[in-house]
């Protein structure tokens, strides 16, 4: 339909109005919970009723109301589209969450994962009917092994933490196979929380390794703590300070000399993919977060996938199932403990891991190729160093000497006396249109701000981000603490009261 624009010239805005309406803001629809939309007897799914009742089930039939509202399709669309607009996303602006590798998620990956031949295939179909799926798993395994220089890979772990567990279980099994009941895992203080949590799950006690002034593993301390009870040394490399462990080969040597295994947390593999092979560094096991390095979407908290590459010493202790390539080009599945799987460390989950993520990762890898993946690492490192260089004048880099890898770590020394905390800076960044950096991690740095741009940030966005941070730095130093305390003011909500949430948890809607 047409609209006659009666062209009455609009009057210019008054100054007061201009201030009241900060630039770049728009209306966000309020949206109640589905339980408040009145859909107690609606449904958005049409289906002819069954021709039979369920009377054969007797009193096992669910009688009482369940309490689930339903909505028609139009209402459903609106509910979720409205909610979605309250989220920040990579597709909206830089999302420099250090250690999370929030890179672009190619849409080709999504399309490929939805091919019926991948999406509509049951994990327990006869193996003869899923040869393409097994071939893809085999291909993914080949790429991961080649990129890491490792002889084996266990694909089934569901995410990074699950991969850590898988790696430690292989180590445990290998030790048990030689009758060795070691009970300690060494890990630096800077380790991600999943490392100690996983070690505990795997039945180990965690002993912390000290860190040097330049943000690396203290080799002397490591050597001192290595002993006959140490099953594994867990080190993240590049580490969570965004630095490459220069002495990594020595770490591996010492570890092996002590009869222990070297577990590398590969969450930061993005910094070195195509340029460095962990296998060349003496690593025995390393998980790879496909949802970081290989671009499968984070989806607001998963799903991920955490394949673990393994050294020859650990390979026999991989969990089942795995794919076996036959000489005729066909593929089989090793599901039980038969044959070469006799020593398998168990089963990490019911089926074959995260096939949907394998397809996406494979689509990404094929797109980049060996050359492109190398460029990924280079650009990721370049972008991080660029941010570090641009911000170092005003902020205080935690480790100013030498280059960083894929992320730049700052402490809060530059905020000294400003009455502004790292948290405040993070919230103020929201008002600038960016997702904050990771804050207060790693724990080894005071008021840590960990910035990981990733290689998919264009120069222009890096500059916009750096400009915003520098503006905030100037404001903080100029004493404008109030602005920081009030932030964010432009998000759909102001700061949320997390203390109240935890004090009296309300974890579901009740009428």
């Amino acid at each position: 339909m047409s609209v006659v624009s009666v062209g009455r010239p609009t009057r210019p805005e008054t100054e007061a109005e201009a201030v009241a309406r900060p630039h770049g803001h728009g209306l966000v629809q309020d949206e109640p919970l589905i339980f408040e939309l009145g859909g107690w007897d609606k449904t958005g799914v049409d289906m002819e009723p069954a021709d039979l009742g369920a009377d054969d089930l007797g009193d096992l039939v669910r009688g009482a109301p369940i309490g689930l509202p339903g909505l028609s399709e139009p209402e459903t669309l609106r509910h979720y589209v409205r909610l979605s607009q309250k989220n920040h996303a990579i597709d909206l602006a830089m999302y420099p969450l250090g250690s999370c590798t929030m890179k672009h998620n190619p849409r080709l990956n999504e399309k490929m994962a939805r091919l019926p031949g991948f999406a509509d295939v049951h994990p327990l179909q006869p193996v003869s009917t899923v040869q393409g799926a097994l071939a893809l798993m085999d291909q993914l395994a080949h790429w991961l092994k080649t990129l890491t220089g490792m002889p084996a890979v266990a694909l089934t772990p569901k995410a990074g933490a699950h991969g850590e567990l898988c790696g430690l279980l292989a180590i445990r099994a290998a030790l048990e196979a030689r009758g060795d009941g070691r009970r300690t895992v060494l890990a630096p203080v800077s380790a991600h929380g999943t490392n100690p949590a996983t070690a505990a799950m795997a039945g180990y006690q965690v002993v912390e390794i000290a860190q040097t002034a330049d943000g690396r593993v203290d080799i002397a301390d490591l050597a001192a703590k290595l002993g006959p009870d140490v099953a594994a040394v867990m080190v993240t490399n590049p580490n969570t300070c965004g630095l490459f462990e220069r002495e990594v080969i020595e770490i591996a040597r010492l570890t092996h000399a002590a009869g222990a295994f070297f577990y590398c947390d590969g969450a930061n593999f993005n910094a070195i993919v195509g340029r460095v092979r962990p296998g060349d560094l003496g690593v025995d096991a390393m998980h790879i977060n496909l949802h970081k390095t290989f671009s499968t979407p984070h989806g607001g908290g998963g799903p991920g996938a955490g394949p673990v590459v393994l050294s020859a010493a650990l390979a026999p202790y991989a969990p089942t199932p795995w794919v076996v390539a036959g000489p005729d080009g066909s593929f089989a599945l090793r599901e039980g403990r038969e044959g070469e799987a006799a020593a398998a460390s168990g089963r990490m989950d019911a089926f074959h891991g995260q096939m949907g993520m394998y397809v996406r990762a494979m689509s990404y890898m094929l797109s980049h190729g060996a050359d492109g993946l190398r460029q990924v690492a280079e650009d990721a490192v370049l972008n991080a160093n660029y941010v570090k260089a641009r911000l170092s004048g005003e902020l205080t880099p935690a480790f100013p000497e030498g280059p960083c890898m894929h992320e730049a770590l700052f402490d809060d020394a530059w905020l000294e006396g400003a009455g502004v905390t790292t948290l405040d800076v993070a919230k103020a960044l929201i008002d600038e249109g960016f997702h904050p950096m990771t804050m207060y991690f790693p724990l080894v740095v005071h008021g840590a701000m960990l910035i990981e741009p990733t290689e998919t940030e264009p120069r222009r966005e890096l500059d916009r981000f750096c400009d915003a941070v520098l503006r905030l730095a100037a404001a903080a130093k100029a004493g404008d603490a109030e602005r920081f305390k009030a932030a964010p003011v432009s998000a759909p909500l102001r700061r949320l009261d997390e203390t109240a949430a935890a004090r009296k948890p309300r974890l579901r809607w009740t009428a």
């Binding site: 958005g44 459903t76 920040h88 999370c100 100690p196 799950m201 974890l507």
Partner: protein
């Protein structure tokens, strides 16, 4: 490279700002011996056309479930997911966001999680649910670990009706921490054996309902026995659609309910990603694994949601955490929640009834095939049959006739001695023609 925005001149200028002569200078910390001089031995980059061709070729070598008669269940189910579900989860704001650590700019994800938790609590009949685990099988293992923390005991009794892969996963993930899993032999109905296995060391009993043979049972007697011994009852459900027809775990006395949520909102995906549902009774809340989303207010008093009780989690509690889980199944939980919102109670009950009716038609058809014995007396949408032949071989034979006949029990547990048992499943996507084709082909093959 289409995913890399930096141009050569960007790179040169940025190196200038950094003060580095070359990109290699930024990699100085890597030991010289480990610096690769050039690309590894893998193909070079490829355009979309090429990648699509390669992957479509692989996809073409799999028989899609929807391409013909199909009867697999046993932990993963083919249901129809409304088109709007996949549309919504692909919105950038859901797809390309991280775990909602900054609640002010993540209310979309957080409100969804709060709604999801409420839906899962309602479905399982328990008061609190978390924001998802990886899948049902790892959720089952987490339940055992949680029960051990709650009861400070070290033994778990696993029913022989528990999916063998769940039992294996539970063993894998719990034995390193010193827990003992007492796994009963595969059996259609082992209530008595389960009750007999409970002792003073028992942290929990794990039963599946409907169980791996499809049997629907009243687990309240087991609940009573467990509670009498100070143990918890963990009820596992692999087919979330059954919540629409069968009494909930909570109603039958479960302390922890674990379910595979794939059936609602998620495709088969050859086994993953799926979504683990996890709910429990209030007193055990602080021993729960995984993320929790809670209601609160913002500085202006407006309602909002945040991740809460995170002192249970690894990033705060480290080795004392209730689990190491970090990334979980956010987007699959979203898909679950959207599909459940579309269904509502009315739709869920309707679809569940249709599943049940189709499975009964399937039973009628298979029971009429000479030599076939239906083993499961009461079921939801899947049941076990005994064949006069090796089930795995028969499945291969029928696959060659383009009928995917179900899951041979030996595939789940080759040591159970149930090589003649076939697990079959029908859902709302199964047609009468599919069933006829299956029964006819089966009759032919058995007559050979």
């Amino acid at each position: 490279m289409r995913y890399l925005p930096l141009t050569p001149s960007d790179r040169a200028e940025m190196l200038g700002v950094i003060g580095a002569a070359s990109i290699d200078e930024l990699f100085v910390d890597v030991p010289a011996s480990a610096r690769l001089a050039g690309p590894v031995d893998l193909p070079r980059h490829a355009g979309e056309i090429e990648v699509e061709r390669q992957l479509a070729k692989l996809a073409g070598r799999n028989r899609a479930a929807g391409a013909g008669p199909f009867f697999c269940g046993a932990g993963a189910y083919r249901h129809h997911v409304p088109a709007s579900v996949d549309h919504i989860i692909q919105r950038s704001e859901f797809l390309t966001s991280y775990t909602p650590y900054q609640p002010e700019i993540a209310q979309g994800t957080l409100q969804v999680l709060f709604e999801f938790q409420t839906q899962v609590a309602a479905l399982t009949g328990l008061p609190v649910a978390n924001a998802s685990l990886y899948d049902g099988s790892t959720g089952c293992a987490e339940a055992v670990l949680m029960a051990a923390r709650v009861t400070r005991r070290g033994k778990a009794v696993l029913s022989g009706g528990l999916h063998p892969h769940y039992a294996e996963t539970a063993w894998t993930m719990t034995h390193p921490a010193g827990l003992m899993t007492h796994r009963l032999p595969a059996a259609l109905d082992d209530e008595a054996a389960v009750i007999a296995a409970i002792d003073a060391e028992t942290a929990c009993v794990v039963v599946q309902n409907p169980n791996v043979f499809g049997l629907v049972t009243d687990v309240s007697r087991i609940a009573e026995a467990a509670h009498a011994a100070g143990a918890l009852l963990v009820v596992v459900t692999t087919e979330a659609m059954s919540f629409g027809l069968i009494k909930s775990p909570g109603e039958m006395g479960a302390d922890i309910a674990v379910a595979e949520g794939q059936s609602i909102g998620n495709a088969l995906n050859f086994g993953g990603p799926y979504v683990g549902l996890f709910a429990c009774r209030e007193p055990h809340l602080r021993q729960m694994p995984g993320r929790l989303c809670g209601e609160t207010v913002d500085a202006a008093g407006k309602r909002g949601f945040v991740l809460t009780l995170s002192t249970r989690e690894q990033h705060i509690r480290r080795e004392k955490a209730t689990s190491n889980i970090c990334t979980n199944s956010g987007l699959c939980a979203l898909a679950f929640s959207i599909h459940m919102t579309l269904l509502g109670e009315t739709g869920l009950r309707r679809v569940a009834e249709v599943n049940h009716a189709r499975a009964r038609s399937l039973r009628t058809a298979l029971a009429a095939v000479p030599g076939v014995e239906v083993l499961t007396p009461r079921f939801f949408n899947e049941f076990a049959v005994r064949l006069p032949k090796n089930a795995a071989a028969l499945v291969e034979t029928l696959a060659a006739r383009d009928i995917i006949a179900g899951v041979p029990f030996s595939r789940l547990d080759p040591t159970a001695g149930l090589d003649d048992v076939l697990l079959v499943c029908a859902t709302e996507t199964t047609t009468a023609e599919d069933i006829d084709a299956f029964a006819a082909a089966l009759a032919e093959e058995l007559a050979r």
